[in-house]
Symmetry: C2
Subunit: 205 residues, 2 copies
DNA sequence: CGCGACGTTGATTTGCCTCAACGATTGTGG
DNA sequence: CCACAATCGTTGAGGCAAATCAACGTCGCG
């Protein structure tokens, strides 16, 4: 059987491990996962979802990094989420509400995902109700993180948010340009540059 | 049998109707709901959750209005969520993560809720896995709304956020003081006052 | 090589905050 | 039931955080 480079048969393993850590799976359930999730490569700058389209897939990142963002009327980019290794990403509003998305998802690096379509996910829920629980827990965790971020955005200064980002996502910082980080924090790249230099100063008199 | 005023036996009905609208329940499942959820009254200004405590209950509001908020180091209040009739509220991070909460929940009006403890909810999941799905859908919907709010906060001015609040929560506006609305929008009450007057002006020369 | 993204820095502007004062309303205890 | 305190909404003056606009050197890439 022909196998594409970068997409070996055992690419499903990290996902199985991920699920197993949340709630242990039996063999039948692991086979269902293997049957419904499919590997896919996105080249750098390639769209995984484009504004106006329906979000039909749920992505689990194996390697690389995706971002989900909105472009406002003034043309500014606002990043809702990065998704690197072992993170999930999709536009849940479009995915379940069956409405056209206002968001874009694209690749910041060459990225390999495991994807499942909405129809396959619904089938999976029917075949193994345990996945209702798994995805409930998964969304609950995302909800808590999102709520913490909202709280930060309401109550903190740009500098505090930047410091917090460095702490929470240290492994991302080196992989992202300052433009991306600024679009995530909700500030301009110019101001982020000033923040960085403001701190490394206070050295020479 | 003695029955407290304001808390009649059929107070469970709005919750059953709420679940039924999401995913139809059979008789046994309705009885489980009636067995695990309990009515409770919070007087105006009474805490339902206090910072430092564990969030042990999930609340469904029958009448009245609760708010969930954080007090920062400077003493400012930041409101994460209002919950009026037919809304859910709790600190999910504390509820499932079993950690002390940094948030407060209290009543803005005399409020009647149906509450379920974490232990009872877990029991409910085991007795009827359908509730895994129900609460998955419920959290998914909350997640989508929260994401929209974060996007607004990152990308919009205070005035745009205020206009949007008026559109999305018209039934709340009349019940809340401007102090509460300002704490939700992430601005000062003074500035909210200016926003309101800025708009009703542009009339007399 | 040349073009376009990136990061930096300066000058200026602006959205929103802070502090302070005031009358109107609410609520509370004597 | 009244008196007093507390909270609310409003307005003014002044200040600061962050945006805007512009210019410039650097680097990676086609």
């Amino acid at each position: 059987m022909y196998m594409r480079k970068n997409l070996p048969t055992d690419s499903i393993d990290p996902l199985l491990a991920y699920f197993d850590r949340l709630i242990p799976l039996d063999t039948a359930e692991k086979e269902l996962v293997a049957a419904h999730f499919h590997p896919r490569l996105f080249r750098k700058r390639q769209y995984a979802l484009q504004e106006g389209d329906l979000c039909n897939q749920f992505y689990f990142v194996l390697r690389g990094c995706l971002r989900m963002y909105k472009i406002d009327d003034k043309g500014s980019t606002h990043i809702l989420q990065f998704a690197a290794e072992n993170y999930w990403i999709n536009d849940l509003g479009s995915f379940h509400g069956l409405r056209a998305s206002e968001l874009n998802i694209d690749a910041l690096e060459d990225t390999v995902v495991l994807q499942i379509s909405r129809d396959d996910l619904i089938t999976l829920y029917l075949q193994a109700p345990k996945f209702d629980r798994i995805f409930r827990v998964l969304v609950e965790n995302s909800f808590v993180r999102l709520q913490e971020r909202l709280l930060q955005n309401i109550s903190s200064t740009a500098e505090e948010r930047y410091r917090s980002f460095l702490e929470v996502y240290p492994y991302l910082v080196s992989r992202l340009s300052q433009v991306q980080i600024a679009a995530y924090l909700g500030i301009t790249p110019e101001f982020l540059s000033r923040l960085r230099n403001r701190r490394t100063q206070t050295r020479k008199p």
